[in-house]
Symmetry: C2
Subunit: 438 residues, 2 copies
């Protein structure tokens, strides 16, 4: 686009939309100085046109009529901030068909229907920009596509959900149990009233699917991501892990294995407490990426919230207005999804933290260690404090050396059948983030 | 540039040049998949054409003749990796005049002659890309220009010199004295045979000048950066600081003050040991940037070395080849240097760590605390271990509340005159990096 006066239309005037409107009204001079572009928020569309938001829009631009954007050819960029995978998809397609480039923060939509939407964009010779869809204000999409483009990416380890990180951090540092920590996160605005998609790991998996496609150049679907959430994690395990030098995080991981297949997973992970990701506190996000040339990198910031997310949306508007997003979008080949490139969770090699509730009687240890041995699971440490509880059961924590997931799953099923074992064993993966150090 | 086959010429075939050649020969398919571009290293120029490097160049492209690049119109991009501020400047100007866009890692040249070179680039309708000049493989230039472009930047706090960080980290974690730590850094390849420009802070100041211009949109010169290096820092102070909860880092700082003036400085800094920058180990670099919308961000990675720096050089080649660098370069206004925008170090408000060697006799404390009081310096802590050394001198460590630099400077000059004080007081600033937390 050669015209430096760029008109923008926005659909969705909620929290992030309000932030975008603030930047596009209150910060327009800074942006012009940095970019030479005069951005104009020309239309805002939302079903709710009456609620007062924290920003003063220019007179007459707010309506509930999508055509105010679609039929105005002077609007070159459409921002979709509606969320969800139905109406939002329809809106993006209409905007592309009407000749507008699209900016979105909609991770669920791109993770589930990205390939289809990108195809629509290409048919219309437009692009979709989505920096805000992953890790909020952290320019991680841009880092993968541009800053680290010369690298073959070996692995990506992310704290991609601020709600989960806030809850686990509260449990770890304040000793809260899960329900109390969740309640506090809700009170602080870091968790939704219905937190399901955050705490079950889906939100992180959506972001991981998007970033993996970019990092490895092949499409993966949301369903390809192995998923465990943080519901039901116990403060006892967090405390015991801490004693052993580990911090519990919900990690989103995409790794290339030795045979070049991608392991893709979101699950609670014990990581070394002195590692950089272990120190990501509160609602912050961070992504550590390993490139064959650059080594380890890490990108840290606020992964959600009105202004951090708006920061990323406006960055995308500017990149589109300059023509840069289009260049990137056109240049990158993301190969179609190929299941044979994906590794199954059963094949995962990992260390494990296991907690068993064991009846305190002679010969008990031999029973479950025998089973572990039969599955070639080698024990690296055992922690059993003296004395049993009133029910004569004691928690026994075992850490293992690297072993294959399917053996661990099968072994724990057998262990659970033992008469000396109560309840379901707790099993948390210990993730050794590769070291790139002196 | 519409042609997807892009020819590149490189001047300077040293360590970084070898890394660039490796990426441009061994990793060319990955790059094509990610970008759609076919990059070709078409000419390499160096005075030394005989030494064997760690890469196999295509037959016949290595020469000592700069005209092989300048006179070949099919070469669209020139890489300057000569270093220094004389020959390199001449080469960049010749490449721009010959119609080539320029990629460089030369921080000293840009910090000292950037405005002049940018003007030459504009006259020739070309651009200069310099991601590799700051923080090696970390895409920090791109983050400031693009990812965080919607923000008004409030401050930038960087560990920008890997040599200094390695030395201070060795002193802190291994208890080495400065000469031993320097020697180890040299043995590891993290410090040059002549480490002056690293350890006196100049290298970090060069990078800070470049990043400040981008972050605040106004040109600053290298000479505008207040500079203190790490030479002569004592392991005693590092240990004492550690006891008090501080870690010593060489920080490069650009802050906007309340009156919108920029404070620009590189000096040893005690920072809270639990802060993210305190945990940047070994030769790594990190930059924490605060934006009004995004809040705190941090970017971490290897700030030097063959492949990390080459990663940034090749990222720039690609951005130029796509046309994106030109768009950014043309869009951004960096206002000419304006001294009245810069704050003097004398006006700095800071907390301080002071160590005095005091003769252990009655009334001593009253003498130096009286002087500090006269300069309105309020003491926040004192540490004096029992018992004097054989010379009857004891180290007294004082930490202060926030006070103005000029008072501190004047007070220490007076304190030093006291008959009970031996030697020059040690004075290290305690830097409170703003908190953006829950």
């Amino acid at each position: 686009m050669s015209d430096k006066h760029i008109k923008v239309g926005m659909v969705g005037f909620g929290i992030v939309g309000t932030g975008v409107a603030k930047l596009l009204t209150e910060n327009i001079e800074t942006i012009e100085q940095k970019t030479g572009l005069k951005l104009e928020l020309a239309a805002v569309v939302d079903l709710d046109t009456t609620t007062t938001r924290e920003v003063n829009l220019p007179e007459g631009i707010l309506s509930d009529d999508l055509d105010r954007i679609l039929k105005d050819d002077s609007i070159q960029i459409g921002i979709e901030l509606v969320g969800g995978t139905t109406v939002a998809k329809d809106i993006q397609i209409k905007m592309l068909a009407a000749g507008k480039n699209v900016v979105t923060a909609n991770k669920a939509l791109l993770a589930e229907h990205g390939a289809e939407l990108y195809a629509v964009a290409r048919e219309n010779n437009k692009c979709i920009a989505f920096e805000a869809s992953c890790a909020g204000g952290i320019p991680i999409v841009s880092a993968i596509r541009s800053g680290l483009v010369a690298n073959r990416i070996g692995g990506l380890y992310g704290i991609l959900n601020g709600t989960c990180n806030y809850i686990l951090w509260s449990m770890t540092t304040k000793g809260l149990d899960f329900p109390t920590a969740l309640k506090q996160a809700q009170d602080k605005g870091y968790a939704e009233a219905d937190p399901t998609l955050d705490i079950n790991g889906s939100d992180a998996a959506h972001k991981l699917a998007i970033l993996t496609g970019l990092a490895f150049g092949s499409q993966v679907d949301f369903e390809d991501v192995y998923l465990e959430g943080i519901e039901g994690l116990s403060i006892d395990d967090i405390r015991t892990g801490k004693e052993m030098g580990y911090t519990l995080k919900l990690l989103a991981i995409a790794e290339k294995n030795d045979d070049d297949r991608i392991s893709l997973r979101v699950h609670p992970s014990f990581i070394a407490s002195e590692s950089a990701l272990a120190r990501v506190d509160g609602p912050f996000n961070a992504v550590s990426i390993f490139g064959h040339a650059v080594g380890q990198t890490m990108f840290y910031g606020r992964g959600a919230g009105m202004m951090p997310t708006a920061s990323a949306v406006v960055a995308d508007i500017i990149e589109i207005a300059m023509g840069n997003s289009k260049n990137l979008f056109n240049g990158q080949t993301i190969k179609p999804r190929n299941e044979s490139n994906l590794d199954d969770i059963d094949n995962l090699q990992s260390r494990f933290y296991i907690r068993l509730m064991v009846e305190d009687k002679p010969g008990g240890v031999a029973k479950y260690t025998k089973i572990l041995g039969e599955y070639e699971i080698s024990i690296s440490g055992v922690l059993q404090h003296e004395g049993a509880g009133p029910d004569n059961r004691v928690p026994v924590v075992i850490t293992t050396n690297s072993t294959v997931q399917k053996n661990m799953t099968a072994a724990l099923e057998e262990v659970q059948q033992l008469d000396i074992i109560s309840g379901k064993p707790v099993c948390i993966r210990i993730v050794d983030i590769p070291e790139d150090r002196d």
